[in-house]
Amino acid sequence: MSTKNLNADNHVEEHHGAPSGIMRWLLTTNHKDIGSLYLLFSLLMFFIGGAMAMVIRAELFQPGLQIVEPDFFNQMTTVHGLIMVFGAVMPAFVGLANWMVPMMIGAPDMALPRMNNWSFWILPFAFLILLMSLFMEGGGPNFGWTFYAPLSTTYSNDSTALFVFSVHIMGISSIMGAINVIVTIFNLRAPGMTFMKMPLFVWTWLITAFLLIAVMPVLAGAVTMVLTDKYFATSFFNAAGGGDPVMFQHIFWFFGHPEVYIMILPAFGIISQIVPTFSRKKLFGYSSMVYATASIALLSFLVWAHHMFTTGMPLAGELFFMYCTMLISVPTGVKIFNWVATMWRGSLTFEVPMMFSIAFIVLFTIGGFSGLMLAITPADFQYHDTYFVVAHFHYVLVTGAIFSIMAGAYYWLPKWTGNMFDEKLAKTHFWLSLVSVNVLFFPMHFVGLAGMPRRIPDYALQFADFNAVISIGGFAFGLSQLLFVAVVYKCIKGGEKATAQVWEGAEGLEWEVPSPAPYHTFETPPTIK
């Protein structure tokens, strides 16, 4: 027994008598295994949600109804949104946190490993329930991922209960994941790893975890009220019974707006790791980055009603939420400026993670600009619920969140697998994605400004040309992502061996352990310089 433990690099862990095959993955409490499970699950969900986007784009390729009925179209937009938000983006960040947070702070594992296992393994069931509801008589959820009442209560189909349960399970999973991250960071930092020495990815995740704990219960409350309104004759959102449908939107967006930052703060963290590495220069304004992240998180609780300017708020409310929303662009701007200052007079190289990061900075900023435009309430009346908004949130979520996840995956893939990835293939993936994603989302600004509402299966003729272009961009972007799978697969199978540091300019604890990272790292805490 003791002889087996002598080799700290031993990849196969045996001293717990770990099971092999499928049971290894079902019972694992290892943060690296669970991180991999999260990442692979989110990749699968990315393709399922993506397939639904392809259905949407195929129907919108030409005016008229060709492929699907309007009701099914609504199910596609709804489930596409739910899957991408809760199934692709959030689990991917949790996966990255699982893999990297313990390694970055010198911890042996996550603080609550069994809960970690549980928080992953309930997720597949949540999405199974959601996806199966599509095959029910009457179809799956069709009221948009925002499930506004009373469309989701009195007027929804029978699958609503399944939708509610599935969201509950996703919420429980997120809360458990968030608790784990907080407890790990608070308790398992190596001696000398003070808060202001933590890598920014750890910082952003710590703040994200607090956001999750604050707002996921609000979402749980919202879906529960939808459930009781629909099935138990309550009237939370039913005016005829003394309720208020607009109150639903307040509750939903009180969750929904911090949720937006839950999906972008870890992205900021990833970019803040990658840009210094490939600039060979320390991150500019580390402490201002931390403060900016914290102020974005706090402000995120004060801007929810900017999603609701058209609901008929009082003037004072509209002004308050307009000012707060404009204010949030200040700390976000600080982050962009800091990244640019980090690159300034650095010694830049452009490996694939850096390419995705630069694309992130430019394209996320474009999403930020349209966000600032949307903050201007009188103009928002024209933008609201048009393709301009669709363009905005896809710029921040696809070229923002997803591009950062791609950047992070390419950045850490050699550390995870021990092999360098096929750089040529990865660069092809990058360039195809970059071009197609802009063909896909940029013209949406134009059709939105010209007056095309979102969530419609058919449109007036003046939008036809741009929609054809958008659809072609969509198909190209979707297909390009298959290359990512090819790169990951090849990298797991083999390739040029990676060094411990992997990238020339990389600094931090995760680059001090060998590649691939051994099954157990930092069983004795490292010394922090």
């Binding site: 309007p70 009195t154 029978d158 002004l319 701007g333 400026f337 640019v340 650095g346 010694s347 009188p378």
Partner: protein
């Protein structure tokens, strides 16, 4: 008066002046619209857009300068700086000042938009799945406005007309130059009444009334759409507003009120008459396809799990009175609307007759206008 707001940002004035000249050549940009408010909104949009452009050019410019000149392959050695409180304060303060400058014109426009006092004319706008209802407060006139694009165009069987999906059977008509107030509400789910040319987008919330207003400067036909997902046919409930000179508007209104009055008198006469089955069936098919087929489908089979079918259904084959009641008064807690207030007696009689005798529902029942009227009088 719109240009007054531009004085906040001098560089933007020049640029937005150029851009607005060719704004309507290609549909790339927001409309300037036909009201003073919509012009202000357009100007706000252009100012903030140009602010974003300038910031973007500066930030990306510096970044790409760095990318080109500070690359390792050119022998660039990394500098050592990584902190500067002065710089951080500077790039916090500058955006803050820009935002404050932007907040002034935005606030001013917003205050104007929300001032619905002193209206010359009030129209109640009610959304329901999937049509709009307009009711003039100062006149004895109200009517429903439905999509006029035929199914055959939507299903790609015939060529699409120029105003595909943006045409209705009875548009809303308002006078130019007068302040028209809209009271917006809904009968079922949340809809949103949006006419881009007026810069009005206001949600129609069931059980609550929202206000909006416009003063249209030029006569014309203005088209919009429902902007809030409201179910299956959300994409198929357009809005068309015709703005007429006040004199023409008054003439139109007088005509319409007269027609509505005559129509009511005709209906009373109809109560004493019996329409033959064939006539009811022919009319019924037409009215059914326009008003009922969206949910119950042309073949009467509905959409399983969403909308019940009528072919062989307990209601269409059962008690006539229950059947009439549900058509006239709707069914609470479902998407089934009360059609009593939407359609003429004759049409309602035809629908019930049609539903009881079409698709193999051969009950042989003939329902007359008088039978329908009993249910209207009742409630």
């Amino acid at each position: 008066m719109a240009t007054k707001q531009l004085s906040w940002l001098i560089p933007a004035i020049v640029l937005s002046g150029n851009a607005s000249a060719n704004a309507d050549e290609m549909r790339l940009n927001m409309t300037k619209g036909v009201t003073d408010i919509s012009a202000s909104v357009y100007n706000l949009h252009m100012i903030i857009f140009y602010i974003c452009c300038v910031i973007g050019i500066v930030v990306f410019g510096i970044m790409f300068w760095s990318i080109i000149h500070h690359r390792k392959s050119k022998g660039a050695k990394p500098a050592n700086f990584h902190e500067s409180t002065k710089v951080e304060i500077l790039w916090t303060a500058i955006p803050f000042v820009i935002l404050i400058a932007m907040a002034f014109p935005a606030t001013k426009t917003l205050i104007e938009m929300e001032d619905t006092t002193d209206a010359d004319l009030t129209v109640q706008v009610t959304g329901s799945q999937w049509k709009w209802h307009y009711k003039y407060f100062e006149h004895d006139l109200d009517y429903y406005s439905l999509l006029a694009t035929p199914q055959s165009e939507i299903k790609n069987k015939i060529a699409k007309s120029a105003n595909y999906l943006l045409e209705v059977d009875r548009p809303l008509v308002i006078p130019t130059g007068q302040k028209v107030r809209f009271l917006i509400t809904s009968d079922d789910v949340i809809h949103s009444w949006w006419v881009p040319e007026f810069a009005i987008k206001k949600d129609a919330n069931p059980g609550f009334i929202n206000e909006a207003w416009t003063r249209v400067n030029e006569p014309g036909i203005y088209r919009g759409q429902c902007a809030e997902l409201c179910g299956k046919d959300h994409g198929f409930m357009p809005i068309v507003v015709i703005a007429k000179e006040p004199a023409e508007f008054d003439k139109w209104m007088a005509e319409k009120v007269e027609i509505a009055k005559k129509f009511k008198e005709e209906e009373q006469k109809l109560l004493a008459m019996n329409m033959p089955m064939e006539e009811l069936m022919a009319l019924g098919e037409k009215v059914y396809n326009a008003n009922c087929a969206a949910c119950h489908q042309q073949n009467g089979q509905g959409i399983p799990g969403v909308f019940p079918g009528l072919k062989d259904s307990a209601i269409a084959l059962g008690d006539v009175k229950e059947h009439i009641d549900i058509v006239v008064n709707g069914k609470a807690g479902t998407a089934m609307q009360a059609f009593g207030k939407q359609l003429a007696l004759k049409d309602l009689a035809a629908i019930v007759t049609y539903e009881r005798n079409a698709w193999g529902n051969n009950t042989g029942d003939v329902v007359q206008a008088a039978a329908i009227n009993e249910f209207l009088v009742d409630k």
